[in-house]
Symmetry: C3
Subunit: 311 residues, 3 copies
Amino acid sequence: MIDQAIFQKPVLVSMKDLDVTTVKLLIQRAEAFKQGLHLELTTPLYAANLFFENSTRTHTSFEVAERRLGLSVVQFDPQTSSVKKGESLYDTCLTLAAVGVNLLVIRHWQDAYYKMLINQPSLPVALINAGDGSGEHPSQSLLDMMTISENFGDFSGLKVAIVGDLNHSRVARSNMEILHKLGAQIFFSGPAYWYTPEFAPYGTYLPIDELVEQVDVMMMLRVQHERHQSAADFDAAAYHRQYGLTVERAARMHPDAIIMHPGPINRDVELASELVESKRSRFVSQMQNGVFMRMAMIESVLRAQDLGCLV
Amino acid sequence: MIDQAIFQKPVLVSMKDLDVTTVKLLIQRAEAFKQGLHLELTTPLYAANLFFENSTRTHTSFEVAERRLGLSVVQFDPQTSSVKKGESLYDTCLTLAAVGVNLLVIRHWQDAYYKMLINQPSLPVALINAGDGSGEHPSQSLLDMMTISENFGDFSGLKVAIVGDLNHSRVARSNMEILHKLGAQIFFSGPAYWYTPEFAPYGTYLPIDELVEQVDVMMMLRVQHERHQSAADFDAAAYHRQYGLTVERAARMHPDAIIMHPGPINRDVELASELVESKRSRFVSQMQNGVFMRMAMIESVLRAQDLGCLV
Amino acid sequence: MIDQAIFQKPVLVSMKDLDVTTVKLLIQRAEAFKQGLHLELTTPLYAANLFFENSTRTHTSFEVAERRLGLSVVQFDPQTSSVKKGESLYDTCLTLAAVGVNLLVIRHWQDAYYKMLINQPSLPVALINAGDGSGEHPSQSLLDMMTISENFGDFSGLKVAIVGDLNHSRVARSNMEILHKLGAQIFFSGPAYWYTPEFAPYGTYLPIDELVEQVDVMMMLRVQHERHQSAADFDAAAYHRQYGLTVERAARMHPDAIIMHPGPINRDVELASELVESKRSRFVSQMQNGVFMRMAMIESVLRAQDLGCLV
């Protein structure tokens, strides 16, 4: 059983708060769920997923994880909520806690939105960050670590490339943080102007053609057109040729090396369409693992809340 | 147990239809749910919540109440429904009843929309009004009565101020109706031009500075910008200074007097932000009580429908 | 019990794939559900309903059918999904399958969208077409056959008129296909320019006044304004007078003849408002039957997927 003290507070918002031991415990627990571990709630619990940005993978994955753990999922759509009448995120959460919601899973466009929600005695709820602006994306990061762990066992000395739209990527930020702690060697690639100074302490920049033969993991990032100023000027074919993982480049990867992508994929931009479901690709595994990792995350924050209801 | 004959028809749409005895029975029943009363459905029942106006509190509160009573909640979003193809509200409800929905909870922008739905033999469903235009808001009104009852026991002679955007407020209309029947003394305040002749029979108008020291309940109303013609001209600071419950004014309230607000709050407009979770405020209690009162309402209409399925 | 081999593949997308025996088995099974047949899942199953076009009847009917069979329904709204970031329908389905969804019910504006989804080993899900563009609408067609079967027993020699907006109607396409196989005699009516050559092999065109006295079923189609180029020019009263089922025309129908409509109805356009719930009308029966037919369809595709979980 997961140690009830894995978290002191019922909050999981940033990879910065997680040490190596905790990450490994969460991976271990997620693997147990994947093997069929089943928990029972001893009292009804309610979850609400507040997605202020579009999502398929993360949203449905959290919902399935909640239902598998026996939670009841309350519908919430920002577009038809009182947010449209100007209600703040804090007051929205205050409301949901008051009507009996026990777990809030939030994706929001504002960086570190969660700072206004944690350490509030009036919000007796568990909280998981499902992505904050260009900040972090801890559940994606943890499912990525789980997937890497399944393939390579240990992280020490593992060579991981994070490639593409670094600047707007919360996946890049969360993953470089934890990969660094876990002892992996990090490389960055993609358009050089997206390799801003905040990335330098975590790893060096290399053109993709120099990277592709020497790393164990090619972690391709989605070009986030919706966060760019001038999406109209973007030349997808040119990007693919210069920065993308093409079929030709993939052929030069180490025999055991894998390809990862957090999705959604711009096919034939950052990643060749033919590679998406290729033998090297862990795209589908990542999505499958996501449900089990999110179950482990939810279990942890519920136990920290001391609801004493998972047996 | 609630008397099966509390309602003749499976309909709860207006506070005008409820006498004092019924309101007190509903409060008593809601308190029993709050104390942990648990009912079981003997047959599966389905609820649909049709919200044609934005809502967080009322919508999620009804959903949690339905789930706590064991009902299955069918998703319905007017924005992706056949309403967009021009289907009428009546035909929408006819459809939902035909596919097996047993309870409809409706919020609609049209005043008294429910008149076209009740007494229709082809609609064998229970119906609760969750707010009609600038008409009524019975579930808010009943949870407000529950909250007042918890604080003061009896309503007789209780002094209640309803303050703010009276003209557009279904909360004001529903509450003045039932408070009057319950024997409370009602006062109104806010911009004088919103105190239209329909309010006069229920209570007198006083400037907030004259009210604040003498009433037991300050019921602050939300300024409903979305129903106003010229929201751009609105000066929030000026409104707060002249008509709002400021920290200074709250300090002059009677020691046992309470502050209420139906939410969502325009912080620092009708109510000072610091007061929202202050000791006097019942804002969170109102939201908590809402779930239990809605359980009592749902139980009552289901029993009137004679589904014989709650034990 | 339904034969586990009723379908070879867990897919129900077109009436063209169904022979007469299968249709009759599905009707028989739907009637069993209507009589109260109850199945139990031996393992939790998840359904997702992907509606890329507006719907009330079909969407809620599938959801109720899924819940009655014990499936858990995962929320999915294209408007707030990664489809908005450009993710393809295939990748969306790949994602849902990966997170553990077992049944996809899809309505999409693209004709035959399902061709890119079936026979994909990477998509281990059951698939039901809930309407594709101006293509087909098999669940509507099957519930229509069930309703006709309840009224007339056999289809052989039955005279069925399909009247109205033929050109845009997937209901017309699915129904003429199966009615033809079942031995019914088909007639078409409505504006002659909507009777395009694809309809000719299935039945002759007649003006409504010549049809109304000689057919057993008047199947009225909705004028689909949203699929027309020039909705502004449309004269509803003129359409009703010339092509619609008026009260006067209905009075000339054979005593046992019935009126059907897939909904939503444009009242007083294709069908007089007074006729919607008249004795001849099967509009409400169609919607009621829809839930049971969809249960039969879902059961069939789940059994073909060999989930072995319905007992």
